[in-house]
């Protein structure tokens, strides 16, 4: 008995060392046949910061990782199913559904999640997937825009991501995207709030380290939207950015803001080459 207690204390004392070691060496295959690239060479624009970019999947426990390997276990897929119903539902003054213009998302939406946010020439704006969906809703369906990063909007984003799973993230950062990219990069390296912490302080300088119970990843968004066990719902990237900035004791930006659109483009570009994983599962 006494021996046991002592061993437990010894185990606690060495605990931090026992957790250490950064990303694991597991490999991710979905539904037994879709191999995912979860580690790869950093894109050129990141080469002074990283040699290798790594999906957030590698920093989660084996149990959490397992949930993402099978669509029947991945609770994010429940929201994808709901979005498929929505896809086929006519709405708005034009009486049209997404399916009326785009038929089957498994054909028409392939590659979308890999390349957004994307410059829209006609509108002269940088568009996220959710902005594009809302553009279709308001301008082509005569329906109301969905609230950013809320229920229907994230579920639809998850459906659109799911049909690109396994494709490499490949967002353009040159041409008209360059200014947004620079603005996003500025935000990434700004030390916000009373704790004066930037995204880079945690996700570039300290990935692989534990910050209390959380194992810090590179903060990649190739897995978004993510189903989080913690809040049992799908989470958009802007909501995640909000949470991270809030945790520095700062005033956050809002979901759908110009700042977060630029930050989404920038963070997404840091994952150029990783497979699209959304909807992924995280804790």
């Amino acid at each position: 008995m006494k021996f046991k207690a002592l061993t437990a204390i010894a185990a606690l004392l060495i605990a931090p060392a026992a957790f250490a070691g950064g990303a694991d060496d597991d490999t991710l295959t979905i539904n037994g046949d879709l191999d995912m690239v979860t580690k790869t060479a950093a894109p050129d624009h990141l080469s002074d910061a990283f040699d290798e970019i790594i999906s957030g999947w590698h920093f989660r426990s084996d149990e959490t990782q397992q949930l993402q390997t099978d669509d029947f276990e991945n609770q994010g897929m429940i929201f994808v199913d709901q979005a498929i119903d929505q896809w086929n539902t006519a709405e708005g003054s034009e009486g049209k559904s997404c399916a009326d213009c785009h038929s089957d998302p498994a054909d028409s939406m392939v590659g979308v999640a890999a390349t957004y946010p994307k410059w829209n020439e006609e509108a002269g704006e940088m568009r996220t997937v959710q902005m594009q969906v809302n553009d279709c809703r308001t301008n082509r369906m005569g329906a109301e825009a969905w609230k950013y990063d809320a229920g229907d909007a994230v579920s639809m984003e998850a459906l659109i991501a799911s049909v690109s799973r396994g494709m490499p993230v490949d967002v353009a950062i040159d041409g008209p995207a360059a200014d947004y990219w620079e603005a996003g990069k500025d935000i990434y390296y700004t030390r916000f709030g009373q704790l004066e912490l930037s995204c880079a302080n945690c996700h570039e300088q300290n990935y692989g380290n534990y910050i209390r119970a959380d194992h810090l990843s590179q903060g990649q968004i190739n897995g978004f939207p993510t189903y989080r066990l913690k809040n049992a719902k799908l989470n958009g990237s802007h909501s995640r950015f909000k949470g991270c900035i809030r945790d520095t004791r700062a005033e956050t930006f809002s979901a759908g803001s110009d700042e977060f659109i630029a930050l989404e483009l920038y963070v997404k570009s840091r994952g150029n080459g990783l497979s699209v994983e959304g909807p992924s599962v995280r804790n």
């Binding site: 204390i9 606690l12 004392l13 605990a15 931090p16 957790f19 250490a20 700004t190 030390r191 916000f192 709030g193 009373q194 704790l195 004066e196 912490l197 302080n201 945690c202 300088q205 300290n206 380290n209 534990y210 910050i211 209390r212 119970a213 810090l216 909000k242 900035i245 809030r246 945790d247 520095t248 004791r249 700062a250 005033e251 956050t252």
Partner: protein, 158 residues
């Protein structure tokens, strides 16, 4: 009698009312970021410092630092160096400076400043995500800094 006790407690709570307390903006840092004298004018309490070190709503130092002497504190962090031997390696003056504003000792460090109230980008109202209303309070009070320093000085291997 009752009334004075309450007033005294209120004064204690605000701290700043003590003549000997050094305000965050008045802290004098030495060449290497050290701070020579007690910020509260009083000695620190190591037991209280240990609680401040590990509680999330106070210093939350354990989020980033591991300390072997606190085996009951779960999930000690790895972002900063382990502090198990800090009481041997550092003086009270150095530790006070590091906890008050670590950037005076380690420029650009990830470690937050615990006794600083200005110069932030988009300061928030605690962890609400909303803008701060009015002036910020330092994360730790002058006496809490002294308590943490007293605790750090007890961290010695022998």
């Amino acid at each position: 009698m009752r009334l004075t006790a309450i007033t005294a407690a209120a004064v204690l709570a605000t701290g700043a009312a003590f003549a000997d307390t050094v305000a965050p903006g008045d802290v004098q840092f030495g060449e290497y970021g050290d701070v020579a004298t007690s910020l509260s004018g009083m000695a620190g309490d190591a037991d209280k410092g240990s609680v401040i070190f590990s509680s999330r709503s106070k210093g939350n130092c354990a989020a980033c630092h591991a300390v072997a002497q606190l085996p009951d504190v779960a999930f000690q962090g790895e972002v900063g160096p382990e502090l198990t031997w800090t009481g041997e390696a550092r003086t009270a003056e150095e530790l006070r400076g590091i906890v008050a504003n670590a950037k005076m000792t380690f420029p650009d460090t990830v470690m937050p400043a615990f006794y600083k109230t200005t110069g932030f980008t988009r300061p928030g109202d605690g962890y609400t995500g909303k803008a701060a209303q009015g002036d910020l309070s330092p994360i730790l009070s002058a006496q809490e800094i002294e308590d943490v320093v007293a605790f750090l000085l007890t961290l010695q291997e022998s």
